[in-house]
Each structure stands twice: as structure tokens, then as C-alpha cells.
Symmetry: C2
């Protein structure tokens, strides 16, 4: 075991927990049970990661690589990510319980400064055939793609090397002010990113 392993795990826990919150809200807003079920899958994965993290942190104390209070801090940060993940699962649970939320609630979330959008990549879109890294979407428009639906397949937490195809449905979040520009780019109405 090296320190590096524990840190990599801690980082993965943090990122996955935050992804879960985004997917969970998105599932409620777009009444999308696939997204909600994915949150459940991720929650199981997080339990495994967190258990692994705790073992590694304790082993590291034994091996003299970490002080006791450092290990406890790592364990606490991991536990916090797990708590966030649990909350995300409970948000997804609202979607899975088949309670049709008042449209006005969904709207209120969409009225937030940070919005969730869903958009289909058009045949004339400049995004077509490009990777997320190529187009620097996040830094150019402020919008983060959190999931992609391609036919029946889902890509959760897409990375820099994920290539966008025509017909992909992009789920993204970002500032309200960046939303329209992003949607126009995806739909192919706007060519300049």
C-alpha cells in the first residue's frame, strides 16, 4: 500500500459522490428512471470504495506512513462522501417512487443560477465527432456534460477523451447564462463555441 492509493480512492469517492448528486437531481427534473437507477448502482460502488479506503488508511498507520490523526481525517472525508452519496440515492428514490412532482418544483430547480439541461446533438453540430477534451466545452461555455445517452446506452461521467456523436443526448449542468449558447451549439444552430 502506498499513500497514493488512499488519495486516489479519496478523490474517486469525492468525484463519484458529486456526480451522483448531479445525476439524482437530473433524474427528478427529467423524470428519468434510468438516471435514478444509475445513482443506485453508483451508491453500491461507493460503499466498496469507502471500505477499501478505511482499510488502506489503517494499514498506513501500521506501516508508519500516516499519523493516526491523518488517517482519521482521511476516514472522515471518505465518510462524508459516502453521506453525500446516500443523500443522492435518497433524491433518486423520489424519482423511483413514481411520485409525479409538481411541475412548479421542477421549474424552481431550473430557475436556479445553476441549471440542468438536456439536448440532442444535431447533424450540423460542431460537436459531432469531437471529444470533450477537443472542444473544451466546460471552459468555453461553463456547461459540464454529466451524462450522455447514445441509443440505448448510457455514458455516465464522460471524460476528456469521450467522443460526441450525432444523436447523442447530452445531460449537462452549468450557469443559466451559458445554457442557451450551449444548446444552440449542440443543436447545430450556432457554429462558434
Amino acid at each position: 500500500m502506498s499513500e497514493k492509493e488512499a488519495e486516489a480512492l479519496l478523490l474517486e469517492l469525492k468525484e463519484k459522490a458529486e456526480l451522483m448528486v448531479d445525476l439524482a437531481y437530473s433524474s427528478v427534473i427529467y423524470d428519468n428512471k434510468d438516471l435514478a437507477r444509475e445513482v443506485y448502482e453508483l451508491e453500491n460502488f461507493i460503499d466498496v470504495l469507502n471500505e477499501e479506503l478505511q482499510k488502506l488508511a489503517i494499514k498506513d498507520v501500521k506501516g508508519g506512513e500516516l499519523e493516526v490523526n491523518e488517517a482519521l481525517a482521511i476516514i472522515q472525508l471518505g465518510a462524508c462522501s459516502e453521506a453525500i452519496a446516500d443523500a443522492a440515492r435518497d433524491i433518486a428514490d423520489v424519482e423511483l417512487r413514481d411520485v409525479e412532482l409538481h411541475p412548479v418544483i421542477k421549474e424552481s430547480v431550473l430557475e436556479s443560477e445553476e441549471v440542468f439541461v438536456r439536448v440532442k446533438v444535431g447533424e450540423n453540430s460542431v460537436l459531432k465527432g469531437k471529444t470533450l477534451g477537443d472542444i473544451k466545452l466546460a471552459s468555453q461555455t461553463g456547461m459540464w456534460v454529466i451524462a450522455i445517452k447514445r441509443g440505448n446506452k448510457w455514458i455516465y461521467d464522460p471524460r476528456k477523451n469521450t467522443r460526441i456523436e450525432e444523436g447523442d443526448i447530452l445531460f449537462a449542468k452549468g450557469p443559466r447564462e451559458g445554457m442557451e449558447h450551449f444548446m444552440a451549439i449542440a443543436e447545430g444552430k450556432e457554429k462558434e463555441i
Copy 2:
């Protein structure tokens, strides 16, 4: 009571809980106890909001404005935000407990695709005297300003009409690829947003 009130509360709970997570991680990364203490303050505020939300939801059922299962969904979403807020408080607690985290842990969080940055607004910065709304920082660079330190004063969760001044210390989060450009703009080395 109108539906609208419950939704406004739910939205505020969601936004404040997410802000707390960002501030909490930022407090750990930058070893900043002021930020950590602010997370504690916000957590108390969230408890009050959530209690209010529960009362309103139940009143709304009585008044016939909400179905029982709708009210329960609202209550559950509020409870999830409170759980996220509690997790954020526990992250801030790591900072307040005075455990000096391994530098390598802080680095691992900074190596994430989403990074936290702290930067001082220089005298030649184009941001000087502009509001966050004017400059559309979030959609132009992908970076969200989550807090501003101005002298001894803190501005948490700055809004569109918040004006940036020379010497402000901006705490922001966003995509790694947007970080350097944002810092150069804030420092005044780069004029084009």
C-alpha cells in the same frame, strides 16, 4: 402559504447545501478556518430552512394545495439537502480539528478535473469594478466564484450584482482547463475574458 413558498425554500436549501460542500472542500484545501466556520453557520441556517419547509408542505396538504405524496417528496428532497449540508459540516470539521492534512491529499483534490482556485484581483485586472453578471465569468471561463474575501470581510455565494474590487481574493471552482485563463484574467496578465 402558497406552493411557491415551499418551492423557493426547497431551491434555497439545495443551493445552500451545494455551496456548503464547495466551501468545505475549499477550507480543507486552503487550510482556511474562516471558510470552515462559515460552513458551520450555514448548517444552522439550513436546519431552520428545513424545519420551515416541512411545516409548509404539511400545511399545504391540509389546505388541499398538495397531494400527500407530493408533500412527502418535497420533505424527502429537503431532508436530502440537509444530509448533504451535514456532510459538508463534517468536512469543515476536519479543517477545524487542526489536523494538518498530507500535502499529497490536497494535491489529489487539486488534480481532479474540477479544481478549486484562490486568486487575488490585480490592479490591472479587467474584472476590477465589474459585476459577476457583467463579465459572465461562469459561462466564459467555466469558473464559478463561490466566495470573495475583501479585507477582513467575506462574501459567500456572490450573486450577479456582486461587484469585484481590486485586492479581492476570489475563491472559485471549475474545470482544470479553465483555471489558468481565469487566474491570468484575475491577476491582470490577460485582458480578454
